[in-house]
């Protein structure tokens, strides 16, 4: 199963904004234990959407300017990007089907 790729302040523009595929970004931090628990769900999703969506994760402690740019004040937050634009934001712990619903919506557009 493809593991989400860690993106940084340096790689964010290239890996997320310039991606040809839609990109999921999982905003997390090492001190946020619930974020760790979300990881297996995101990994399951990355397997199910392999080849359709690029899965990434971003450590808000190491990339504070990107977290600030998107107004992240709560983690886990999952954002979906398409064509360089943030098109969906899912805040907090949510059922897996909510993530799937958002992914399917973005893919259908």
């Amino acid at each position: 199963m493809a593991k989400p790729v860690e993106v940084t302040e340096q790689s964010f523009d290239q890996a997320v904004l310039k991606s040809l595929e839609p990109v999921l970004v999982d905003f997390w931090a090492p001190w946020c234990a619930p974020c760790r628990h979300l990881a297996p769900i995101v990994e399951e999703l990355s397997g199910e959407y392999d080849g359709k969506v690029t899965f990434t994760k971003l450590n808000v402690d190491e990339a504070p300017s990107i977290a600030a740019r998107y107004g992240i004040m709560s983690i886990p937050t999952v954002m979906l990007f398409k064509g360089g634009q943030a098109v969906k934001q899912i805040v907090g712990l949510r059922p897996k089907k909510d993530f799937k619903g958002s992914l399917d919506e973005v893919l259908a557009k």
């Binding site: 946020c32 234990a33 628990h37 992240i72 004040m73 709560s74 983690i75 886990p76 059922p95 897996k96």
Partner: protein
């Protein structure tokens, strides 16, 4: 994933994880279903100080990871999906999920309880923009900022104390004139210089400008309305049982809790319920785990009896 099991456990909180560990050890083919993340309430609890055997406390998420590993060690498998209903089909109990149907010979309902919302203007609008139910997730975003905790029980005070690590001030807004939290937590909170208290007060609105910047409070005794500048609002006013998907099948009390026998049996044969979702007096981690074990052993006996 298979679609047929001996036991399906609905909800991977401490009760469900304990049930799955016990049914696994009884060599019953066990599936543990979780809607969000494993751990239930302890997944977002900073430090658990009252679980026997951990005199120095243990981080809630660490304990829940260990409980999940323990259940898996004895053979339980897990899946992340939402259960939308349960029904009886002959000898089978069918669990309907958002990813299809699963069948088992017995079901243990351990889907626990969720945070109750305040139901005031601004609460949903600013969720993730200053409003939170998870201090351990979001506390660090409020370094040197004033925040408020709503509620006066263990959850509110425990997380309020956690927030004092980051926030410049933590105001506890409580509708009564004293804390309901356990004495040890209340003493610690009242002695903490970073904590402040607004007694006999309720929240009328959460205000902001893109992000939260204040709350409108109302004093229940005087009726006086005031404004409190805060950047974060953490809501812990209570829990409601997650029993919506069981309405019509399982007997509930007026509060929505499941009525069970001492062997954790519901009114439907082959469907058991345990933990915070059932009607009971003590809602503690250790009793949740104890409930899980009791339900698992009852299921073991029930399936043995069914097999003749």
């Amino acid at each position: 994933m298979d679609s047929e099991y001996d036991v399906i456990v609905v909800g991977a909180g401490p009760t469900g994880m304990t049930s799955a560990m016990f049914t696994g050890r009884s060599r019953l083919k066990t599936l543990l279903i979780e809607r969000m993340i494993p751990g239930g309430q302890i997944a977002t609890t900073s430090t658990v100080e009252n679980f026997p055997g951990f005199p120095n406390g243990i981080e809630g998420p660490d304990l829940s990871e260990a409980m999940l590993e323990h259940a898996k060690k004895w053979g339980a498998t897990t899946t992340f999906t939402e259960v939308t209903g349960v029904r009886v089909e002959g000898d089978y109990r069918v669990v309907e999920t958002s990813d299809g149907e699963l069948r088992a010979r017995a079901v243990i309902i351990t889907s626990g309880a969720d945070h109750v919302r305040l139901g005031v203007p601004g609460e949903m609008e600013y969720m993730g923009k200053g409003v939170s139910n998870c201090a351990v997730c979001d506390g660090a975003f409020f370094a040197d900022s004033p925040v408020a905790v709503i509620g006066g029980g263990d959850g509110a005070i425990d997380e309020g104390l956690y927030l004092t690590r980051y926030a410049s001030k933590v105001t506890v807004v409580h509708r009564r004139d004293s804390l309901r939290a356990s004495k040890i937590l209340a003493e610690r909170a009242l002695a903490n210089p970073v904590m402040d208290f607004r007694w006999n007060s309720v929240v009328d609105a959460i205000n902001g400008d893109g992000v939260v910047n204040s709350m409108t409070l109302r004093d229940l005794n005087t009726g006086e309305v005031s404004n409190l500048d805060v950047e974060g609002v953490f809501i812990y006013i209570g829990l409601a049982p997650n029993t919506d998907y069981l309405t019509g099948l399982i007997n509930l009390d007026p509060g929505g809790h499941i009525l069970v026998t001492p062997r954790m049996e519901t009114n439907v044969t082959g469907i058991f319920a345990a933990g915070d979702i059932r009607q009971k007096a003590a809602r503690q981690l250790v009793s949740a785990a104890g409930d899980g074990a009791a339900a698992a052993l009852a299921v073991r006996d029930y399936l043995k009896q069914m097999a003749g």
